[in-house]
Subunit: 182 residues, 2 copies
């Protein structure tokens, strides 16, 4: 793999690892504030980030060694409702700004596997923006959290589904296993 | 909190988030290679990193906003035995190189809470080096993994214990709850 593409994947691994960590922290905060459904959503978002970061790690691991990775990091710790909006804005920024730039680099270098992976990740981000927006609107409208019993995260791409469908993942089409977050 | 100290904490949050993610990946690899005890150890290491990263996040969250965080990142994906040695070397590097530099910055700025937290993290790293060394030696000696039934991670500092003692955490002294990894 060419170095500029690998650098993009490493920086996105860095960004994804911090996002994963933030979602674990947000989930804990939501549990403390007695929002069990939103805590479940943050836990599922953490799993989604884990799946995508693992894939990026797998793609770059051939370039063994110690590298410097940089990424924007958001440091906020408000109430759970603020964390929901921060999460949506972060996923939107990743989908609209960060990943398109990385995809352009990978494509210009003819790195098909990296480009495919990053495009899939961008599609997952867009789906998560819609999911988070829906929960934000429902919570604001009803003045309480919507009930989320369990969520299922596609092990292939990180898509989050409310129900497992027989046809496989609605986003990537893989008939992969889903990780259930209860 | 002064900016140079906050930058150290943010960079260590970045490094810790990536280490946490690597441990999750190593744990999955160990399960695939049929090393359930070593997988348990990697899972406990991931929890330990989560606890320390959460503490750093809590310390810097007052400086709300988007910041760039940088860190060295190790990209390797060998056999589980290699991952054990890589983990030990990473914790040693963190204890001997990275954290002492951050502690020096925090102390020079009179940031007592940050310095205390980073010193505690360095002590945990040294303990993890010893723990990993022990498992590496036992595995090499017996030519199979040592049996680890469960591990307990101190929720206050990230210390990993084989057994919960009544006197609280052997490292930080807190009578905090332990998270059990089975």
């Amino acid at each position: 793999m060419k170095e500029a593409t690998a650098k993009c994947l490493r920086n996105d691994f860095c960004s994804g690892s911090m996002a994963h960590m933030r979602y674990l922290i947000y989930a804990q905060k939501a549990r403390e504030e007695n929002f069990p459904s939103i805590a479940r959503l943050f836990s599922a978002l953490a799993v989604s980030r884990y799946i995508r970061a693992s894939e990026q790690y797998r793609l770059v691991h051939e370039l063994i060694g110690v590298h410097t990775a940089c990424s924007e990091a958001h440091f906020t710790f408000f109430r759970t409702m603020d964390n929901l909006e921060r999460a949506r804005d972060d996923e939107k920024h990743e989908a609209n700004e960060v990943l398109p730039a990385y995809i352009a680099v990978a494509e210009s270098q003819g790195e098909g596997a990296a480009s495919k992976s990053l495009k899939c990740s961008a599609a997952v981000c867009r789906h998560l923006v819609a999911l988070l927006d829906d929960v934000i609107q429902k919570t604001k409208h009803a003045d309480e959290e919507p009930k989320i019993e369990q969520l299922h995260v596609c092990q292939a791409c990180g898509y989050i589904a409310a129900e497992i469908t027989m046809g496989g993942c609605p986003l990537c089409g893989e008939r992969a296993k889903f990780i259930s977050v209860t």
